[in-house]
C-alpha cells in the first residue's frame, strides 16, 4: 500500500461516506480520494455499492452521510447541475444517451453548461479526433446505434463539458471483449490528455490495468486499496472475483 500523503493537488476527497437505500445500507464509511491527473478505479461485485459512490458524487443519490469535497468545495449541498458546473461529469451506467437525438445533438447537450458553450466547436473536433466513428455518424439518432457506439458517444458527450474529473460507471457493460479493450485504451488516452478519472468497473483486469490506484469495494466497504499493479497480483482479488 502507498502511504496516502495529503498532497495539495487532491481533487476529490470523500470521507466516511455512508448511504442507505430503502433499508439497505449500500455504503459504509467509504474513504476515497482522486488526485489531479490520476485514474482511480473502484472494483467489486455487482451490488457492492460501486455505482452508488458515483451517484453520490453527482448528487443524484441523496442524502448520504459523510463529507465530499471537490478542490476544497463542499459537494453535499449541491444539486446535480451545480456539480457539473464545477467540472465533475458523470458518464452513467448503460450509457443513457438521448435516444431521439442525433449524435451531434447529444454532443451539444454535453456542452450545455453555460461556462463550456464557448468551447463547443473545439471540443466537438476533439472528441471526433478520439472517436472518428462518431464523426461518420454525426446525423444518426443515438438510439439506433450499437452498444459500443453508444458507449463512445456517452464518453464523448461527457468530454464536451471540459471535465476536470470524469466519472465513468461500468463503461465495459455489455460490450464485446474486443470493444472493451478499445474503450479502455481510449480512457487511458483521455487521462493522458489531462483529465482525471474515477472509474467504476466489474471488469477487474482491464480497469486495474490502466488505473494508477484502485479500491476494492465489498458490501459497501473498502476492503483493499493500492496501486493498480499491486491489486492485479493480489490473491484475494483473483479469488473473490472468480472463485478460483
Amino acid at each position: 500500500m502507498k502511504p496516502l500523503s495529503s498532497q495539495p493537488s487532491s481533487l476529490l476527497d470523500i470521507r466516511k461516506l455512508s448511504f442507505s437505500y430503502d433499508d439497505l445500507r449500500v455504503l459504509r464509511d467509504v474513504d476515497l480520494d482522486v488526485r489531479e491527473g490520476e485514474i482511480v478505479t473502484v472494483v467489486g461485485a455487482n451490488g457492492a455499492g460501486k455505482s452508488t459512490v458515483l451517484r453520490n458524487v453527482s448528487r443524484l443519490a441523496r442524502p448520504g452521510a459523510g463529507s465530499m469535497t471537490f478542490q476544497g468545495k463542499d459537494l453535499t449541498p449541491l444539486e446535480p447541475h451545480q456539480v457539473v458546473a464545477l467540472g465533475i461529469v458523470q458518464v452513467p451506467e448503460s450509457r443513457r444517451i438521448f435516444p431521439e437525438m442525433t449524435v451531434l445533438e447529444n454532443l451539444r447537450m454535453g456542452s450545455y453548461a453555460p461556462s463550456v458553450r464557448k468551447d463547443r466547436a473545439r471540443n466537438t473536433e476533439r472528441v471526433f479526433g478520439l472517436f472518428p466513428r462518431l464523426k461518420e455518424r454525426e446525423r444518426q439518432l443515438g438510439g439506433t446505434m450499437s452498444g459500443g457506439e453508444q458507449q463512445m458517444l456517452a464518453i464523448a458527450r461527457g468530454l464536451m463539458a471540459n471535465p476536470k474529473l470524469l466519472l465513468l460507471d461500468e463503461p465495459s457493460l455489455g460490450l464485446s471483449p474486443l470493444f472493451v479493450k478499445v474503450i479502455f485504451d481510449i480512457i487511458a488516452e483521455i487521462n493522458r490528455q489531462g483529465t482525471s478519472i474515477l472509474l467504476v468497473e466489474q471488469n477487474v483486469f482491464q480497469s486495474l490495468r490502466i488505473a494508477h490506484r484502485a479500491y476494492v469495494l465489498e458490501t459497501g466497504r473498502v476492503v483493499l486499496t493500492g496501486s493498480g499493479k499491486e491489486l492485479l497480483g493480489n490473491e484475494h482479488v483473483k479469488k473473490a472475483y472468480l472463485g478460483i
Partner: protein
C-alpha cells in the same frame, strides 16, 4: 366538393387542437404527468381574451400577445406550487390533483363570471373568404395561420436553442439530463408554463368562434388526450399531426353522419388507437 370543404375546415380547426395537444404532450414528456386541467387552462385563455376584448377593445387575435405571458406565468405558478410536489407520487394521485385543480379553475370562473354563455363577436366573426373555390371561415383561417406560426416557432425553439434541447433531453432521460448540467426542476416549470401558454393561446384563437362558458374546458381536455395518444404520448410532432387528424375526423363525420355524433367517432378512434397501437400512430420521433 363537400368532402374537400369539410376536410379543409376540419384541418383548420385541427390546428387549434394541435396547439392544445402539443402543450399537454410537452408537460407529459418532461414531467410524466397527465394534466387533466388542460382544457381549463384553455378556458381561462378564452375568458382572458373575452374580457380584453369587451373591456379594452383588444382584438382577440392580437390579445395572444398578452395571453401568452400571462398564461405562461400562471402555468409556472401551478407547477411550482402544486405539480412539482407530486412528481414522485402515484400516477393516480397526480391525475386526481390535476382534476382537482381543474375543478377549482372552472368553478372559480363560474363563481366570478356566472355560468352564462358568452359570445365574443367581432366584425369578422362570420366572415368568409374564397380559397380555390372553397369557402373558408375568416377567423378560422387567421387562427390557423397564427397556430402554424406558433408551432413553427416552438419547433425552432426546441431544436435550435440550448434550452429547447435541454427540455427535450429532460423528456428523453431525466437523469442523464441532470448529468449534463440541466436543472430539471426549472425545465419542469418552463414546460408547464409553455403548456399553459399554448392552451391559453388556443383558447384565445377559438374565442371568436366558440361559446365561452366555465365548463368548456372538459371537452377540450378529453380532445387533447385523444390528440396526444393518437400521436404518441410525449411526441410533439405526433400531437401536431394528431390534432389535424382529429379536426378532420370530426369535421367529416359531422358532415357525413351527424354533428352530434362527431365526438363519438373521435372517442371510438381514441379507444382503437389505445388498444391497437398504444405508442401512437407515428411511434417514436425526435420531438
Amino acid at each position: 366538393m363537400v368532402f374537400l370543404q369539410s376536410l379543409l375546415s376540419g384541418v383548420l380547426v385541427g390546428g387549434t387542437y394541435a396547439l392544445v395537444g402539443i402543450g399537454l404532450t410537452l408537460i407529459f414528456g418532461v414531467m410524466r404527468v397527465i394534466n387533466f386541467a388542460h382544457g381549463d387552462l384553455l378556458m381561462i385563455g378564452m375568458y382572458l381574451t373575452f374580457y380584453l376584448f369587451t373591456l379594452s377593445g383588444i382584438d382577440p387575435f392580437l390579445s395572444i400577445v398578452i395571453v401568452i405571458p400571462l398564461m405562461f406565468a400562471f402555468g409556472a405558478f401551478l407547477q411550482r406550487t402544486f405539480i412539482h410536489r407530486v412528481l414522485n407520487a402515484l400516477p393516480q394521485n397526480q391525475i386526481l390533483l390535476t382534476i382537482g385543480l381543474g375543478l377549482i379553475m372552472s368553478n372559480t370562473v363560474m363563481l366570478v363570471f356566472t355560468s352564462d354563455y358568452k359570445i365574443l363577436s367581432t366584425s369578422y366573426s362570420s366572415g368568409s373568404v374564397q380559397l380555390a373555390g372553397l369557402s373558408v371561415s375568416e377567423p378560422l383561417l387567421v387562427s390557423f395561420v397564427i397556430t402554424a406560426a406558433i408551432t413553427g416557432a416552438l419547433y425552432w425553439f426546441l431544436i435550435k436553442t440550448d434550452m429547447g434541447q435541454a427540455i427535450r433531453a429532460t423528456a428523453q432521460d431525466r437523469e442523464a439530463a441532470q448529468l449534463m448540467g440541466v436543472n430539471v426542476r426549472r425545465m419542469g416549470v418552463i414546460a408547464f408554463g409553455l403548456g399553459a401558454a399554448l392552451a391559453g393561446t388556443a383558447g384565445a384563437l377559438i374565442s371568436p368562434t366558440y361559446y365561452i362558458f366555465p365548463q368548456v374546458g372538459g371537452a377540450f381536455t378529453l380532445k387533447a388526450f385523444v390528440v396526444v395518444v393518437l400521436g404518441g404520448m410525449g411526441s410533439i410532432i405526433g400531437a401536431t399531426v394528431g390534432g389535424v387528424i382529429i379536426g378532420a375526423v370530426e369535421s367529416l363525420s359531422a358532415s357525413y353522419v351527424s354533428s352530434g355524433l362527431k365526438d363519438l367517432f373521435v372517442y371510438v378512434l381514441f379507444l382503437l388507437v389505445l388498444l391497437l397501437k398504444p405508442s401512437g400512430l407515428l411511434g417514436k420521433s425526435r420531438m
